[in-house]
């Protein structure tokens, strides 16, 4: 197990993670390390355990076995699943972010785009309305939304716009670690390309650490530094993204790579 210590410590480590749904395996024997500023992709077919793993890492789902450690901005190391609920909530609102596949799961649909963007700032203690509003406006522009629509509710936005709004809402207070589950799933190809480009830019500009779950190898090729390949709940192969995709060692990874039409 990697210890969160030393001159260049990781941000998150998980060891021996396992989760069973009744008798069915969600994930098992999974070790994960995430360093600051690094994008770790998790790929595999549907049902391979990607989302289960993500939810265990993000503290949203208690694993059956295993531990997740996180190094906070203050430098203390916490056992994510042993944290009292309010602390975990606070962590999720301040240092972490979660981008859901369906923007409706991440947005508050009943309030304006601006209120969505401002929420984390307010939760962090921002009190000055004008300042929150101006940061929200900056973020509208940053995620390539028309600033004139800041008072519209998300209902009025297209799927791609909602997804960009969700991303803005999560990144507005510069979290250190972001969990993304199929952030480009369910979008048209051209909308996906735009979103990917946006994510690429923001990840680099904000020096974000990201755990990115997707079944789309093209997405990880563009975004991920490292990859975990999952099958049947287990990690069958991991390593540098281009190495895993261009020189896959495991039969399952070879099958995944061979199943993609070359672009």
């Amino acid at each position: 197990m990697v210890v969160i210590d030393g001159p260049d410590p990781p941000l998150l480590t998980a060891a021996g993670l396992g989760k069973w749904y009744g008798g069915r395996v969600g994930c098992r024997n999974v070790d994960v390390v995430v360093w600051p500023g690094e994008v770790v992709g998790v790929v595999g077919e549907s049902g391979s355990g990607k989302t289960t793993l993500l939810r265990c890492l993000a503290g949203m789902l208690a694993p059956g076995v295993g531990v997740v450690h996180y190094r906070t901005g203050e430098g203390t190391v916490v056992d994510v699943h042993a944290l009292p609920e309010p602390r975990r909530r606070r962590l999720m609102r301040t240092e972490w972010g979660v981008v859901h596949q369906n923007p409706r799961d991440g947005l508050r649909m009943a309030v304006s785009a601006g209120a969505n963007l401002g929420e984390r700032l307010l939760a962090e203690g921002a009190r000055h309305y004008g300042a929150v509003r101006s940061r929200a406006l900056d973020w509208m522009a940053d995620v390539e939304l028309d600033t004139g629509r800041i008072d519209d509710r998300p209902h009025a936005f297209s799927g791609g716009m909602q997804q960009r709004l969700q991303i803005g809402r999560v990144l507005v207070n510069r979290p250190r670690l972001v969990f993304m589950d199929e952030p480009t799933g369910g979008l048209d190809v051209s909308v996906q390309a735009r979103l990917l480009d946006l994510l690429r830019r923001l990840v680099a500009e904000l020096d974000l650490a990201v755990v990115l779950v997707t079944h789309d190898l093209g997405v990880v090729r563009l975004l991920a530094d490292r990859l975990l390949v999952m099958r049947g709940g287990e990690v069958v192969e991991s390593g540098l993204t281009d190495q895993v995709l261009d020189d896959p060692q495991h039969g399952y990874t070879q099958m995944l790579v061979a199943s993609v039409l070359p672009v």
Partner: protein, 242 residues
């Protein structure tokens, strides 16, 4: 003599699980040492493993055995055993690979594609773009293309974008996979000049140059690769003069 790259005992085979686990040996006990300012050309028939060698040297393919030491910072890093994060750092700062085809990112303009490796080293955007544009101009890429995404560019234009991207960061070791294959004579000559310039500045270059005149113009040494069946049991490859 400063050694920038030193490969020893490199072996590589591919195991194709979907095809009954068939094993495809490509390289056996391959060695290569390249000094700063030197250019080595890899030569051999199609399928001999030339691109495989470059990809191994870049850490893109995993070596079955052997060491692969690349100058980085004040020392050498063995890419065969380095963790992914270190490989990425070595690629950012010390070694560049120009693949045969550009992998275009949707929507990203050519000048940003070219500037990206410089920006990743921490150079401010404006300066990175400036360096990118100068190199693109040198490679005769018309200015009207700079703001466009390269996906729709011609083969030769894409290759020049790819080359500019590979050269722009000034890495001290450079791997070039057929950098002039899609270029006309004028642009070939530009590329020859550029390679000579980086060599003169101390860059170690390993390249595959199908064009014999290009090879003669840039390389000090030629290393011949033979298809695996012909080398099995022997040393794998022997340096030869070309």
């Amino acid at each position: 003599m400063t050694v920038n790259l030193e490969a020893r005992g490199l072996s590589k085979s591919f195991v194709l699980h979907a095809q009954g686990g068939i094993r495809l040996p490509v390289l056996c006990d391959f060695g290569l040492t390249v000094a700063a300012g030197e250019c080595v050309a890899l030569r051999g028939p199609s399928g001999a493993g030339k691109s495989t060698v470059l990809r191994l040297l870049y850490g893109n393919y995993r070596a079955d055995s052997g060491t692969l030491r690349v100058a980085h910072g004040d020392g050498m890093v063995d890419l065969a055993t380095a963790p992914p994060r270190l490989i990425l750092a070595v690629r950012r700062q010390s070694i560049g690979h120009v693949s045969q085809f550009l992998r275009a990112v949707p929507r990203v303009p050519a000048e940003e594609v070219v500037a990206e490796p410089v920006r990743r080293c921490g150079v401010p955007t404006a300066e990175a773009l400036d360096r990118a544009r100068r190199l693109m101009a040198r490679l005769n890429l018309p200015e009207r293309l700079w703001r466009l995404a390269p996906a729709t560019f011609s083969g030769g234009e894409q290759q020049r974008v790819n080359l500019a991207r590979g050269l722009v960061a000034g890495h001290r070791t450079l791997l070039l996979d057929e950098p002039t294959a899609a270029l006309d004579a004028t642009n070939r000559a530009v590329v020859v000049d550029l390679i000579r310039e980086v060599r003169a500045a101390g860059t170690a270059v390993v390249g595959i140059f199908h064009d014999q005149s290009v090879r003669h113009a840039v390389a000090d040494r030629v290393v011949a690769l033979a298809p695996f069946a012909e080398t099995q049991g022997s040393a794998g490859s022997a340096p030869a003069l070309g």
